[in-house]
């Protein structure tokens, strides 16, 4: 029983379908696409952003390097400075580190950054067998780990508006329309004058990077589009039901880490489904979970949590009995019904909450 590997794995797993060379290209593209965001973060937060970014990348890379050196040593190999398994060479670890660091608030203490990075790369990637084999997104895992462990220590810059992020304010009072007056949509769009995680603020730069990735085809456009679209749809339904005006869904889309998560984290080729249909359902579920956590949950932001939750169902989406590149009429019908039911549940939930 131990030796009979299910055949289907070889057919469905993304890492076997994509040639290794394209991983390097893809990872390099993601890093390039993140450069403007990084530059903006450094421009806005100065040294603290630099420290966080450098520390994250360094601690991820060092953890991985030490791990592989130890593994080689235990295997009885001689010490070589250049380790063959080390993924610095194909940008993978830099991408993970950069994405992780950009989701952090600017006042995160250094030791928290290091612990989260080391935990994320070790438990998210190394023990699963390294690049291409991980089930969970290492950046999301590291981020969630420190949110749960050190949630109180990760504060946002206090000089800006009231010291809380837009979603933080919204978490206390879900349907507070006045919040929009404090957080001008223009500011949310450009990222100037609002608090937040260092890389998640400027919507326009994030979208720019996404467009670049889409043109380089290193990227699955459906996931971010469906993800953001779902959140906008549900927020729109709530806005109509509670009469909150047209800007409420736009506000939900622009604030918090939604764009960042949708464009750079959810699209990770290793931890997202491979079929067309699977990707759409995956992104839809992500949107629903994010919106529900934002609206009803205890945490103000749900992007990383929902990415981590959906990562565990990726292999189920790829389950051979229902994987299919074609989307049949029946699937379309079921999907439509599910969307309508979700909107219904949202409205019912909202009517009970407020």
């Amino acid at each position: 029983m131990e030796n009979t590997l299910p055949k289907i794995i070889r057919k469905t797993s993304p890492y076997l379908k994509r040639p290794k060379a394209s991983v390097t290209r893809m990872m390099r593209d993601v890093t390039i696409a993140l450069l403007p965001v990084t530059a903006f973060a450094i421009y806005k937060f100065g040294m603290s952003a630099v420290v966080i970014i450098v520390l994250s990348i360094l601690s991820m890379a060092v953890t991985e390097y030490i791990y592989y050196q130890i593994v080689d040593k235990l295997d009885g190999d001689k010490f070589k400075f250049k380790n063959k398994n080390f993924t610095l060479y194909n940008f993978s670890v830099i991408t993970s580190g950069l994405i992780y660091s950009l989701t952090l608030p600017d006042n995160t203490p250094a030791f928290v950054v290091v612990i989260g990075a080391a935990f994320g790369i070790f438990f998210g990637k190394l023990i699963f067998g390294g690049l291409g084999q991980n089930v969970f997104n290492p950046a999301a895992l590291g981020r969630v780990f420190i949110v749960v462990s050190f949630g109180t220590m990760m504060t946002y810059d206090v000089d800006t508006v009231a010291g809380a992020t837009a979603l933080g304010v919204l978490n206390n009072d879900v349907f507070n329309i006045a919040v929009l007056e404090n957080f001008k949509l223009m500011n949310l769009f450009t990222g100037i004058g609002i608090p937040g995680s260092i890389g998640e603020m400027s919507a326009i730069l994030l979208i720019l990077g996404g467009v670049y990735l889409a043109f380089r085809t290193s990227f699955e456009v459906r996931i971010p589009l469906v993800y953001v679209g779902t959140v906008a749809l549900l927020a729109g339904a709530v806005a109509i039901y509670k009469d909150l005006g047209i800007w409420y869904p736009v506000f939900h889309v622009l604030s918090g880490g939604l764009l960042f998560g949708a464009i750079y984290m959810a699209t990770d080729p290793i931890t997202s489904p491979i079929t067309k249909g699977g990707r759409i359902y995956f992104a839809f579920a992500l949107g629903v979970l994010t919106f529900f956590i934002r609206l009803f949950g205890a945490y103000p932001e749900g992007v990383v949590f929902s990415i981590l939750i959906m990562n565990m169902f990726v292999t189920s989406f790829d389950y051979y009995k229902w994987t299919n590149q074609q989307i049949t009429k029946r699937q379309k019908l079921i999907f439509t019904i599910v969307v309508l039911v979700t909107i219904g549940i949202t409205i019912v939930g909202v009517s009970y909450v407020g």
Binding site: I115, F145, V148, S149
Partner: protein, 256 residues
């Protein structure tokens, strides 16, 4: 098997949790602190020992066909007794363990020992087996509990749930004591990994411990495999040499 071996086997060689993976539910659920782990372990020692004694004493009268139902009834009786005693003498522990006290009934360890050992051995041996296995279980729980409590708070407390021997809760060990030799007013528990007191930490902590066990076993197997390979290679070499020499001799003989 001598009595001493019988007693000691449960600690490492046949440890119920680390080796046999029995009773994982309590090993994850009640090990948030050192004390709850110890309390749960002691309850299991009691139930396991008494059920082992009773099972081995009445094994003659239990028909072979209905032994599982009979064992379950015996175990459930002792679990009820233990639950009531805990509620009377250590209410905090009773509340902290909650549903996991009645769940001792369905702990695979106890039924497994009753079937595998007590139903075949004498009363004394079964009692020793019960105590040994129970203490092995306790040992495993305490190891997990200490690891989790230490990672979550940086210290080990005693006296919150178990009111015996102490009047008020005391700190058995804490990193504060060491750190405060150098600085003042440092509270390590502010910097603890709170995840380890929550459900995810239970899974991860037990996973780490089991990985250590498996790592050691894998090393041992590997070494044995390498030694075997070397021995085979050596034998092959010797055989080959012999063949060569024989061939050489033959050639020499042929040459002449």
């Amino acid at each position: 098997m001598s009595k001493k071996e019988n007693f000691l086997k449960g600690f490492l060689k046949e440890n119920p949790i680390f080796v046999f993976l029995l009773g994982m539910c309590p090993a994850l659920a009640v090990t948030a602190t050192f004390e709850t782990s110890l309390g749960m372990g002691l309850l299991v020692v009691f139930v396991l020992t008494s059920s082992n004694i009773v099972v081995s004493a009445v094994k003659k009268w239990i028909p072979h066909d209905v032994r599982t139902p009979a064992y379950i009834v015996i175990i459930a009786t002792f679990v009820t007794v233990v639950g009531m005693v805990t509620e009377a003498y250590a209410l905090d522990l009773y509340l902290a363990l909650g549903v996991f006290i009645p769940l001792i009934v369905v702990n695979c360890l106890i039924l497994g020992r009753a079937e595998a050992f007590a139903s075949k051995n004498t009363v004394v041996d079964s009692a020793i087996d019960g105590i040994g296995m129970g203490l092995g279980f306790t040992f495993a729980l305490v190891v997990i509990g200490i690891l989790r409590e230490f990672l979550a708070t940086g210290g080990i407390m005693y006296g919150v749930y178990l009111p015996f021997f102490v009047d008020a809760p005391i700190t058995i060990f804490s990193l504060d004591m060491i750190i405060n030799l150098f600085t003042n007013g440092f509270v390590i528990s502010d910097y603890g990994l709170k995840v380890f007191s929550l459900p995810p930490g239970a899974f991860i902590a037990l996973g780490i411990i089991l990985a250590v066990f498996q790592f050691k076993k894998a090393r041992k197997d590997r070494k044995a495999a390498i030694a075997k390979m070397e021995r085979i290679a050596e034998l092959k070499r010797v055989a080959l040499e012999k063949k060569k020499q024989a061939a050489l001799k033959l050639a020499k003989a042929g040459g002449k």
